[in-house]
Each structure stands twice: as structure tokens, then as C-alpha cells.
């Protein structure tokens, strides 16, 4: 059901502005909209709060970064199921003590971010030092400085050849040219594809000597530092060690702040809240001493809200009809409420459309149950959700809705499992046969789809037709409500006649009867009646789809619409997935049972059976529950909603505190 909305306008004195806004943020029932353009003509203006907002956003980001740093070095201890736990509610007392902490927390947060950055920078330096060390490693045996140039009369040349050479080879190659000046060559180190060389010659020959070496592929070692390589390496190692000590000190410092985590979380929430509040503040029309807020409120809450605002905050309140552009809030109860989320992920109903949640919920549970259809899996789902709901009372509303939905889906799965006689597939006969040599079976309450797939297929189509006709019924209701009689007949009633007549006629067709396993054929008069109904339907669609157009166009549009009968066919066939997915669950479960029971009835057999059972059925339940969820959604979105629901409404988004870690309920 869509909650009726009213338009609310609040007029107040500027001195009460803060109090009113905080009151509204706590009440969480007003969707504040942009001010009327005509207010500006009356001398009202909007406050520009973007500077404040960006400042709050910055502070929030600092807090988030600090928390991320804290999580990296001192991860929070969380239980496996902590995501169910929900936000903690803060009392007013706690709130104020946390607010007092904020300046200090801001310092801590900035320090944390700084420390995190320093660590990153130091890590970078370590990497650079290490690569320098790698560069030096072949020169460890050289006992002069790498930038050594020689003495007064001698010149030394340090560098490398890009190949592996021995001293003898090098000398021989060097002197193979005629004009090569005398040289002393010492190999410092040879690596694959590199030979590090120290060469010494007379200072007068230096240029000629180096030229000759270059001809052989020599290149000088380029360095940015002075000193003997081994000493330099030692120095670098010490630097790295020092950096590592500094990093671990910084890490310890970060960890030492882990007590501040809860206050930091509060800070993030606090600034999120303030950002939201200032966002609303910019939507206020203000003049001298007064301000005006316009927005939407659920009609049921309008009266108490008005009373509170008028008495406590000296404000004047005007409640009007919501008009056409009102946002949409869905409200359902008990069994139907949990599937609201599914409708929302599709679209919010627009004006003139009803909220399909309650009708859909009923089919949702049935379709999901038929696809999973195993009593034991259903029980597991039901118990899992039930226990989680009982254990985590403080769960967030959306999470609660999802769990409740799966709990009801579990019940439906159990029901269909019993109908089709599936308990972990065929666990009962398998175990009794393997371990007790005496086969026990639990007969299905209705029939076993594996034994009679045609019957199951027909049943799936019947469910599909009911589902689709219900969707068409909603469309009819909407047309009648809007007094759109042409659409009511052209788009709904004639279709009922065409499809319904067509289906009835099938009961006269031998091929269909033999496929469906039915023996009794309807009397001929039924066939005639069905054909006549379908004929009238087809004719109606042809003529009344677009009655306002000229005859030729009218018929063309009608004929096009009539072509839509193919989409009905594919829609109905689409429900065959009920059979396919239902069989998949049962047969795969059977496969695992069979695999487990292959090892006989001894102790080893029992242990292997238990392992295969656990892994196999966990896998099967997971995959098939996912499949059931996805394909139930598909049937609802494509087949069912396709008949009547377009959506496009705007979701009701009340001004509230959208926080991440804490809830603020009390008056603060």
C-alpha cells in the first residue's frame, strides 16, 4: 500500500531554526524539497551552505581515513555474524561526552592520517634504497671508490662489459688492435651477461685506452655517490634498518590509538549528520527573521508533527494536499512487508499505480518454494533466519526485512518439499539402504516431479497462468480506477477472453490431452464456446486497442497488439523454469547422496558419507537458493510486472541522520 502524503509548510522564527531542524532530523518523517520559486519574489533567499558542507565532508573524510588506518594495523575484532548486529543506539549522555571529545579526536585523526602517510613515504624510501643495493652488489670486491679517477700519473677506468668475459679473453681482445696503449685490467665480478672491470693505465693514455675499451663494448659505471662499494652498502643497510625501526614505531603509535576507535566512529557520524543538516539548510527560504520549510510528510504523521512544532517551537504549520509530485513511501504488514525491498529494486510505483507488494509477496513465496522445493533445505533456511532474527534484535530494518523474506521463503520451500517428497533429495532411502539394509521411503504428499515431469510442467504452467492473469487483473483494476474504459477492455478484458478461451480450447485438442496425461476430453460444445470467446477477444483487441485513430491505422495498431499473443506464449513457457530448477535441486542432492554412499556401510563409509553430505548439500543449497532467488525475481519483474507495472515514482527520502555506526534516538 502507498502511504498517503501531505504537503507541509513550516514557518518559524530564525532563532528557533536550529531546534526545528534538529527536531525534524530526529522525527525522520519529512522529505524536504526545494523551495518554491515564488518565495524569491517575496524577498526570501536561500542560504549558501556549500562551504560548510565541504568543510564537514573534509572532516568526515579525515575521520574515515583515520579509521581505515586503524583497521589496517589494529583490526577490529568482529564476530562472523557481526554484519547482522546493526548500529548501537546512543543515549543523550554518551552523545554529549562524545561531542566533547571531537576536537581531541580531530587531532588524533589527523595524526593517524599523517602517520599513515609517513609510513607510506618511508616504505617508498626503503624500496629505493634496496634497488640501490642491488645495483651495488656486483662491485662488493672493489676496494676503491666507484668514482675514483686515478693518481697523478695513472688513470683508472671503472665500468662493465655486457657479456661474460675472463681476464685472458679481455686482454687478448684489447691488444688485438695495433694502437692499443698498455693497460692493466682486473675483473671485479662476472655475472651472466655482465663483466665488471677495473682498468688502470697511464694518465697520458687515458682517452685512447678508454676509446679502445669502448670499441669492445665497455661502458663506464655511472654513480651518484662516492666511496668504496662495500662501505656504502653497509651504510645503506643501516639506513634501511633505521627506516624499518621508524615504521614499526609509527605502527605502534597507530595501534596505541585503538582505544579512540569508537570516538572516531562517532566523529564520522557526527560530521555526516551535520553535512546532511546543512544540505537541508540550503533548501530553506529565509528572510530577516523568518524561515520557511516545504516538504512532504505521511498524512498520518502530519497532525502530531504539527502539534509538536506549534507548541514546542512556536512555528506555524500548513498542511495541504500532496499533489501529483509527492514522493512514494510503501507500507505493508506482516507477511507482505519483507518483499518491499524487491519492489524497490525494480521501481517505485508512479502516480495511478498501486503498490504491487502485497499481491506479489504471495506469489514470491510460492515461486521460490517451488524452485527450491526441498523440505530439509527449507527447514535450514527457516531456522537460520529465525535464529538470526531472534539473536540480533537491533538489526537494521532492511536487513531484517530480507531475513524475514527468506524465512517465509524457507517455510514455503518446506511445504513444497513435503508435497514433492524431497528431504535432502533422497537422503532417507539412501541412508536406510546403505547403512541399515532396509529401505525406508517417505512418500510425497502429492507426487514426485522426477517420476512425472509432464505433470509438474503442466502444474508450472497453471501457476504461471494464474500469476499472469493476476497481473492483468491489477491492470484492469488500475484502468477501472482511472475510468479508462477503453484500456480496461482493449488491454485487459479482451485479453482475458482471448487467452482464457484459447486455453479452454486446448482441452479439445488430442495432442495436448495426451501430453498432459488427461483422459477425459471436454464435450464438443465446450470447444465451440471456447473458440467463440477467444474469437470475440481477438476481434476486440483488433478493434479497441486504438479506437481513436482512423480505421486503417486503428486496425493496424490492433493487429500489432494482437501479435502480442506471442509474448503471452513465451511468458507462459517461461514458467517451465519452475520444473527445471525444482528438478535441479532434487537431482543434484541425489547425486551427492549417491556419491557419499558409494563407500559402503562401514565406519570409513559413514565418515566419507558425512563429509560428502556436508560439503555437497551446503554447495547445493547455496547454488540453488541463489538460483531460486534470481529466477523468482525474474518471473516477478519480467513476466508479472510486465503486465501492469511500470514504476517511476520518486522514493520518499526523509530528512534524518543517515549514519554508519550509531543511532541517535533520544532528544539531543
Amino acid at each position: 500500500m502507498k502511504v498517503p502524503m501531505s504537503r507541509i509548510t513550516i514557518y518559524g522564527g530564525k532563532k528557533d531554526r536550529k531546534a526545528v531542524l534538529e527536531f525534524l532530523q530526529r522525527q525522520q518523517c519529512v522529505d524536504i524539497c526545494e523551495p518554491d520559486a515564488e518565495n524569491e519574489d517575496l524577498g526570501f533567499s536561500n542560504m549558501n551552505t556549500s562551504d560548510f558542507q565541504s568543510e564537514f565532508m573534509r572532516e568526515k573524510t579525515v575521520g574515515e581515513k583515520a579509521l581505515a588506518a586503524l583497521d589496517r594495523y589494529a583490526p577490529e575484532e568482529k564476530g562472523l555474524l557481526s554484519s547482522f548486529a546493526g548500529r548501537r543506539a546512543l543515549s543523550a549522555e554518551e552523545y554529549y561526552s562524545y561531542v566533547d571529545d571531537i576536537p581531541e579526536m580531530m587531532n588524533i585523526a589527523e595524526r593517524l592520517c599523517e602517520a599513515e602517510e609517513e609510513i607510506g613515504e618511508k616504505r617508498g624510501r626503503i624500496v629505493r634504497r634496496r634497488s640501490e643495493l642491488d645495483e651495488l652488489s656486483p662491485w662488493m670486491k672493489l676496494d676503491v671508490s666507484l668514482s675514483e679517477t686515478g693518481t697523478k700519473n695513472s688513470s683508472c677506468i671503472i665500468g662493465m662489459f655486457p657479456e661474460e668475459l675472463t681476464e685472458a679473453q679481455l686482454t687478448e681482445r684489447y691488444y688485438s688492435a695495433d694502437a692499443a696503449p698498455p693497460v692493466y685490467i682486473e675483473i671485479v665480478n662476472t655475472l651472466p651477461r655482465q663483466t665488471c672491470v677495473f682498468a688502470l693505465c697511464s694518465r697520458t693514455d687515458a682517452a685512447a685506452c678508454e676509446g679502445r675499451l669502448r670499441e669492445l663494448g665497455f661502458s663506464r659505471m655511472k654513480t651518484s655517490y662516492d666511496g668504496v662499494p662495500s662501505e656504502r652498502a653497509e651504510q645503506i643497510k643501516q639506513e634501511i634498518a633505521a627506516l624499518e625501526r621508524e615504521i614499526s614505531a609509527l605502527e605502534r603509535e597507530i595501534i596505541s590509538y585503538k582505544g579512540a576507535r569508537s570516538s572516531l566512529k562517532f566523529m564520522v557520524d557526527y560530521y555526516a549528520m551535520r553535512t546532511e543538516k546543512y544540505g537541508v539548510l540550503s533548501k530553506l527560504s529565509q528572510r530577516n527573521r523568518v524561515f520557511v520549510i516545504t516538504g512532504f510528510v505521511p498524512s498520518a504523521e502530519a497532525a502530531p508533527l504539527t502539534a509538536a512544532l506549534e507548541h514546542k517551537y512556536n512555528a506555524a504549520v500548513e498542511i495541504e494536499d500532496a499533489g501529483e509530485d509527492a514522493p512514494v513511501l510503501l507500507k505493508n504488514r506482516y507477511l507482505t512487508e519483507p518483499v518491499e525491498g524487491i519492489v524497490k529494486t525494480f521501481a517505485m510505483p508512479s502516480r495511478g499505480e498501486i503498490d504491487p507488494t502485497s499481491i506479489m509477496a504471495f506469489f514470491y513465496y510460492i515461486l521460490f518454494g517451488m524452485m527450491l522445493s526441498d523440505a530439509a533445505y527449507g527447514l535450514i533456511m527457516f531456522l537460520g533466519c529465525f535464529i538470526a532474527l531472534k539473536k540480533f534484535k537491533n538489526m537494521e530494518p532492511d536487513m531484517k526485512k530480507s531475513l524475514r523474506m527468506f524465512m517465509y521463503c524457507g517455510i514455503s520451500t518446506m511445504f513444497w518439499g513435503v508435497m514433492f517428497g524431497s528431504y535432502f533429495g533422497d537422503i532417507v532411502p539412501t541412508v536406510s539402504r546403505t547403512f541399515f539394509n532396509h529401505e525406508v521411503t517417505i512418500p510425497p504428499l502429492w507426487f514426485e516431479p522426477v517420476k512425472d515431469p509432464m505433470k509438474m510442467l503442466m502444474f508450472s504452467f497453471v501457476i504461471g497462468i494464474i500469476h499472469l492473469f493476476t497481473g492483468l487483473g491489477v491492470k484492469l483494476y488500475q484502468c477501472v480506477k482511472a475510468k479508462d474504459w477503453v484500456a480496461a477492455f482493449g488491454d485487459c478484458i479482451f485479453w482475458y477472453m482471448l487467452i482464457g478461451g484459447g486455453i479452454l480450447y486446448l482441452f479439445r485438442v488430442d495432442m495436448f490431452l495426451s501430453m498432459a496425461g488427461l483422459s477425459s476430453k471436454l464435450p464438443a460444445v465446450w470447444g465451440t464456446v471456447a473458440a467463440v470467446i477467444a474469437g470475440i477477444g481477438a476481434l476486440g483487441i483488433l478493434l479497441f486497442t486504438a479506437p481513436k485513430n482512423k480505421m486503417g491505422k486503428r486496425l493496424a495498431k490492433g493487429a500489432y497488439s494482437l501479435y502480442g499473443v506471442t509474448s503471452w506464449l513465451s511468458d507462459i513457457l517461461s514458467y517451465s523454469r519452475l520444473l527445471a530448477l525444482g528438478l535441479a535441486t532434487g537431482v543434484i542432492a541425489t547425486v551427492f547422496n549417491k556419491m557419499g554412499s558409494m563407500f559402503g556401510s562401514g565406519i570409513v563409509g559413514a565418515v566419507i558419507f558425512a563429509v560428502v553430505f556436508l560439503i555437497g548439500h551446503t554447495l547445493n543449497l547455496g547454488i540453488n537458493a541463489l538460483g531460486a532467488y534470481v529466477h523468482t525475481n525474474r518471473l516477478q519483474f519480467v513476466e508479472f510486472f510486465g503486465k501492469f507495472f511500470e514504476g517511476g515514482g520518486k522514493e520518499f527520502h526523509p530528512f534524518a541522520a543517515h549514519t554508519k555506526y550509531y543511532k541517535f534516538k533520544e532528544e539531543i
Partner: protein, 163 residues
């Protein structure tokens, strides 16, 4: 020497093998592609792990359908115990019955993998739109389900034939 071979069971087993091989290969390719995309998203934001994991699993169902058909065939032709006497014609029929899920499973799983990759990209940008991404990928699966249906109905039908 071939006259002594009972060709019926050979073809029937070939069908079962093809169903699980081709549909399995398709799913492996699809899930693999989706997995690459999923890993990319998780490097940016580890908290999206569970969402992208679900998307990654979607192209995996074809492999399961293949297994399902293979298993039903194996049990029908008596390989999993019982007598394995299948006439030549019946063997060929089983082979034919396995082909829909084998071929459609292979190709649809690959296509579904591509749709899942796009869905994962969508989750990276708009995590709240996840269910729509799932629907897009599930659209592809429809055809695998239709093929599965034909295979199932055919296999159950063959068992009752007297040839």
C-alpha cells in the same frame, strides 16, 4: 570385431558425457571471465566481495544443468547399477536428447559470463543496482533452462519407448 560391441550404450554414454563436458566447459569459461572482473572490483573495494561473488556464480548453473542431464541419463541407461542393455536406436536417441543442454549450455554460459562481467562493472559503480544486473544475466539463462527442459522431457520420454 565391432559386431560384438553393444553400440547403444556407447552412444548413450557419449550423450551423457557431452552434456556434462560442453555445459561444464561453457560454465567454466563464463565463471572464469566473471571471476577476473570480480577480482578487479575487489582490489578497489573489498567490501563488494559478496555482491560480485553472487554475480560470478550466475553463469555456473549451465554446468549444473549439464551434470543433471548426464546424471539422469546415466541412471536411465543403467550405468549406475542395473542392467545396461540399450538398443542401438535408443542409444542414439539418448545422444540426441543430451544435445540441447550440451550445445545451448556451452554457448549460453559464455554469453551469460559476458553479461555477468558487465553486471560486475555496474556493481563497481552502483552497488545498489545489483539486482538489476542479476536480472540481465538471468535473461540469458532462460534459454539454457528451455534447452534443459527439452533434454529432460526427451530423456524421460525415451525410457518409455519400446525400440
Amino acid at each position: 570385431m565391432f559386431e560384438s560391441i553393444d553400440w547403444g550404450i556407447v552412444f548413450a554414454l557419449l550423450g551423457a558425457a557431452l552434456a556434462s563436458i560442453m555445459a561444464g566447459v561453457g560454465s567454466a569459461i563464463g565463471v572464469g571471465k566473471a571471476g577476473e572482473a570480480a577480482a578487479g572490483v575487489v582490489t578497489e573495494d573489498p567490501s563488494k566481495f559478496s555482491k560480485v561473488l553472487i554475480m560470478q556464480l550466475l553463469p555456473g548453473t549451465q554446468g549444473i544443468y549439464g551434470l543433471l542431464i548426464a546424471f539422469i541419463t546415466l541412471s536411465q541407461i543403467g550405468i549406475l547399477g542395473g542392467s545396461a542393455e540399450i538398443s542401438f536406436a535408443k542409444g542414439l536417441l539418448y545422444l540426441a536428447a543430451c544435445l540441447p543442454i550440451a550445445i545451448v549450455g556451452l554457448l549460453s554460459a559464455i554469453s551469460q559470463g559476458k553479461a555477468a562481467v558487465s553486471g560486475i562493472m555496474m556493481i563497481a559503480k552502483k552497488p545498489d543496482q545489483m539486482s538489476k544486473g542479476m536480472i540481465f544475466a538471468a535473461m540469458v539463462e532462460t534459454y539454457a533452462i528451455l534447452a534443459l527442459l527439452v533434454s529432460i522431457l526427451a530423456i524421460f520420454g525415451i525410457a518409455g519407448l519400446n525400440i
